[in-house]
């Protein structure tokens, strides 16, 4: 029997399984044994016993959810700059352009300081294939895939709007730098060619 590697915090218990019969005679005796032994009742007993014991090993969804890998690509988030709290998204439109499902749309305009302002940003999650291209292309690490993989909606087309995805300003402290898809590689510094500065 192979050892199972157990990861995560769940308390898995391996089940013992006998080896399969190989010869014809063994198979025959197994059938006869199983027919006469009343194994069905053993099974029923186990179910009954576990039911009254309440020692359950399955995940208690939705109270419990499996932790996902940082590289998992679920519903998007729009991040803020950690220092200033300003939005990272500069409205360059690259995510909108690269999106293979054509499900990102955004509105931009000039703000009072003559900068580009993103007034609305939406992703049609019913169309998104969670490919991660948007996060990969984003030059500002603004759009990332968060860990929330549950989607509930009344219709196929449903949208995550800017307000749904943007880190609320009072949650800025809790915003984590994103290590997953599209993030800088750990050796990013070494890859950058430096430009001399005149001052």
């Amino acid at each position: 029997m192979k050892e199972l590697e157990i990861r995560g915090s769940q308390n898995y218990v391996p089940v013992e399984i006998e080896d399969y019969p190989t010869s014809g005679w063994d198979k025959f005796t197994q059938v006869v044994k199983r027919t006469l032994k009343g194994e069905l009742f053993v099974g029923l007993w186990v179910v009954f016993r576990e039911m009254v014991k309440f020692d359950i090993h399955t995940l208690q969804y939705p109270e419990e959810v499996l932790p996902v890998s940082p590289r998992y690509r679920a519903v998007h988030k729009l991040l803020l700059l950690l220092e200033s709290g300003s939005e990272r998204c500069i409205g360059c439109g690259l995510c909108e352009k690269i999106c293979i499902a054509d499900c990102i749309r955004m509105d931009t305009k000039v703000d009072e300081n003559s900068r580009k302002e993103v007034t609305e940003y939406s992703i049609n999650l019913g169309r998104c294939i969670f490919c991660g291209y948007c996060a990969e292309v984003c030059p500002e690490l603004a759009i990332v895939h968060g860990p929330r993989y549950e989607n509930v909606s009344e219709q196929r087309a449903h949208f995550a709007l800017k307000d749904d995805m943007l880190t609320p300003i009072d949650m800025l402290k809790a915003q984590k730098e994103y290590p997953g898809f599209g993030a800088l590689s750990p050796n990013a510094d070494e890859l950058v060619k430096k430009t001399p500065l005149a001052y």
């Binding site: 360059c92 352009k97 749309r105 003559s114 580009k116 939406s122 500002e140 001399p196």
Partner: protein
């Protein structure tokens, strides 16, 4: 270091080699032009087909066998037998160096830059594989400049000077210049603090980077999201080729919206009305369809204007044939009659000049039009004629036009109303051995056109090889239009001069060719974008129809070409074709199904083509010029400012509409700048602010009509000089 190859005359063809390939150059062609024709790529950053080579980028260098130093292919003309090499390691290194220099301190803001995705600097930086920067320079404070509709961002400017040379050589405003200052050079408005120009936006169009941008467009869309809808500008008879660039309105609203207008700036130049006046689509759907059908069916006359496609004009003709309603369009009727009279002596049914003829001429005479605002495309052609060929341009008009001060060589100021006499004198002058029997002394006295001035035209005409006469709206709507046209016909007939009669409205020529027109409307009348008992219009009215950027169709432009336009923005209601189907009892699916009836080809297969002119045997009949009228008192000229043509441009671009007068006019009328005044012209009451325009001379005030709603069209079908009593509003 860079040597010009001198052109040695050896016939009209020069045979030489580019990258080993045998090529032929026409006389006067540069190496770059030949290479482009042959599909051989030479990178450029400052080259513009429509101006003289600027020579600022030095990216177009090529090697010529036998020469030590590389030469600039954009400026050099080949000589027989040379061997040109457009690419080598040496050249690549040289070009890469240039690109590196362009990138010094160039802000890393492609992410938000409006030009991103269509930026020459971006493209060439990638093309030369620049991944790092080895030069440095101290960064300086370079704030953005606000120039009205335009924003100039000095830090993005690569000083290619395309904008300057376009403004100077293609447009003629000469409004910007290069301010020298080594590393801190920049583009500045010429001779003033801020930009004061005709806002054609052509500089925005030619700028290879995001340094010059339209403020309205800024940060609203990216180049790659916009879909280009090929169209012809519907504001004047030049019918310039443009693209409406459209995208959905917002995340919430799917409806297509026009974000900007672009043009093929290498060859064409469009004016500000075309570039910025695109938002005139009709979003209303007023009125009851069956009521509109009834009104159309029972109309005794259908009043319309020439801001209309050929197909719509055809539909109106069909309706009129069926119901017996008269088609009323005074402006097109005037034009039709003018052409008819012109044809008598010209021996051809149409005039023969084009914009290209004007641009190629070395003598041009412009008469009876304030051309710089009546038809900017003609003005640009004049600019090019002057810049390229040093053309001798005479401008004959009662009102001096300061916009042309750099272009024209001779301004002849004639008396208002004496156009017939002026034309007679002019025709007598430019026709060698004319047999006209004129009382020159009398005419010269009455018109105020001096004999020396005319002699000068005659003198130049003897030398000039390509000559064009440009004729405008003042003559077409003139009470003596018929005789004027006959005189002009004599000019075309000589074949020494080309004649360009500028159609007063977008499609006057098309309408004149298609419709049988009459003059006076009778009740019950239906107006198509005109005032009438029942108004079908894209500008309010009783029943809504689509505007010209919401329709497919064709126009006939001033070059006599049939040009197409397409739907840029949707229209929710019904159109003229649907109304007509009910009246005609027919079942024509689309308006453009009429294209085939008109031009023999289905709309989708229609290539641009010229209207045929019918040859007749020319006569030489002109009537004697009788007593010329005199206009005394306060005179007003109906003339729109730049950026404005009609209620449609007014809807799209907001601008003021003051009564403009010279200082002299102000003194004579006891008016001062800013006074509120009232007056009446042709039954329309005007109430305007009086403004002194220091560029104006004389005692004629300019009164715009573009803001008069649908009345603008009826006003513009009259002789444009009118007497008026101006009263100050207390």
């Amino acid at each position: 270091m860079y040597e010009m190859l001198l052109y040695l005359d050896g016939g009209n063809m020069i045979n030489f080699k580019i990258n080993g390939k045998d090529v032929v150059a026409q006389k006067g062609e540069t190496i770059l032009q030949v290479a482009r024709k042959e599909g051989i790529y030479i990178p450029t950053m400052c080259y513009l087909e429509k101006t003289t080579p600027i020579g600022s980028c030095r990216l177009c260098v090529v090697e010529v066998e036998g020469y030590d130093a590389p030469i600039l292919s954009c400026q050099s003309k080949p000589t027989d037998g040379i061997e040109v090499q457009t690419d080598s390691d040496e050249l690549f290194k040289h070009r890469k160096n240039i690109m590196e220099l362009y990138n010094v301190n160039h802000p890393l803001e492609c992410g938000v830059c409006d030009k991103s995705g269509a930026c020459d600097l971006q493209n060439k930086t990638l093309e030369f594989g620049l991944s790092c920067q080895s030069f440095t320079a101290k960064e300086q404070n370079r704030p953005k400049k606000d120039w009205g509709r335009i924003q100039y961002d000095e830090s993005l400017c690569i000083l290619c000077e395309k904008c300057v040379s376009t403004c100077n050589e293609a447009v003629g405003d000469d409004a910007i210049e290069l301010h020298f200052g080594g590393y801190s050079s920049s583009i500045v408005p010429k001779g003033s603090e801020t930009l004061d120009c005709t806002y054609c936006g052509e500089c925005i169009s030619v700028c290879p980077v995001g340094a010059l941008i339209s403020k309205d467009f800024k940060y609203t869309a990216n180049a790659w999201e916009l879909q280009k809808i090929p169209a012809s500008c519907s504001h004047c008879s030049a019918g310039c080729e443009i693209s409406y660039e459209v995208k959905h309105t917002s995340t919430e609203d799917q409806t297509q919206k026009i974000y900007r207008v672009t043009n093929d700036y290498e060859e064409n130049t469009v004016c500000g009305a075309g570039r910025f006046g695109f938002d005139f689509g009709n979003s209303e759907t007023k009125g009851d369809f069956s009521e509109a059908v009834e009104k159309l069916r029972n109309a005794k006359s259908i009043v319309f204007n020439s801001n209309i496609t050929n197909e719509e004009a055809k539909i109106l003709s069909e309706v009129s044939k069926k119901t017996g309603a008269k088609l009323v369009n005074r402006e097109a009727l005037n034009f039709q009659n003018f052409l008819k009279a012109f044809a008598v002596n010209a021996g051809e049914s149409l005039y023969n000049g084009t914009l290209e003829d004007v641009a190629d001429s070395n003598q041009v005479v412009v008469i009876g039009t304030k051309i710089s605002t009546d038809n900017p495309a003609v003005r640009y052609a004049l600019t090019q004629a002057f810049k390229r060929n040093r053309a001798f341009i005479s401008y004959l008009h009662p009102v001096y036009d300061s916009l042309l001060q750099n272009t024209i060589r001779q301004f002849i100021n004639y008396e208002v109303g004496t156009e017939e006499g002026v034309v007679a004198l002019l025709v007598d002058t430019i026709l060698e051995n004319s047999e006209l029997d004129l009382d020159i002394g009398y005419l010269s006295g009455e018109t105020n056109v001096g004999e020396e001035e005319l002699e000068q035209i005659a003198k130049i005409s003897k030398r000039a090889t390509k000559k064009t006469l440009v004729v405008g709206a003042d003559l077409i709507a003139h009470p003596k239009a018929e005789n004027i046209a006959k005189f002009l016909g004599l000019v075309q007939r000589t074949a020494l001069w080309k004649v360009l009669i500028v159609p007063p409205e977008t499609n006057s020529l098309g309408v004149a060719e298609i419709c049988e027109l009459s003059d006076e409307a009778v009740s019950p009348s239906v107006g198509y974008n005109m005032k009438a008992d029942f108004v079908i219009s894209a500008l309010g009215g009783d029943f809504s129809v689509p505007a010209l950027n919401q329709q497919e169709g064709t126009f006939v432009n001033l070059n006599r070409e049939v040009v197409k336009t397409h739907v840029a923005v949707p229209f929710e209601g019904r159109n003229l074709n649907e109304l007509a189907n009910k009246v005609l009892g027919s079942d024509v699916e689309n308006t453009i199904d009429y294209t085939k009836e008109l031009f023999g080809t289905h709309f989708d297969d229609l290539e641009i083509f010229h209207l045929e002119t019918e040859i007749t045997s020319p006569k030489a009949e002109v009537s004697e010029v009788e007593d010329l009228p005199t206009f005394d008192g306060t005179l007003i000229y109906l003339s729109n400012p730049h950026l404005q043509f009609s209620p449609f441009t007014e809807k799209a671009i907001s601008s003021e509409a003051p009564l403009l007068g010279s200082e002299q006019f102000a003194v004579a009328g006891k008016l001062s700048d800013g006074d509120e005044v009232e007056f009446e012209i042709l039954g329309e009451k005007f109430r305007r602010k009086f403004q002194i325009d220091r560029n104006l001379r004389g005692v004629i005030a300019l009164n715009p009509i573009f803001d008069m709603g649908l009345s603008a069209y009826s006003l513009s079908s009259n002789y444009r000089f009118q007497k008026a009593k101006i009263e100050k509003v207390k």
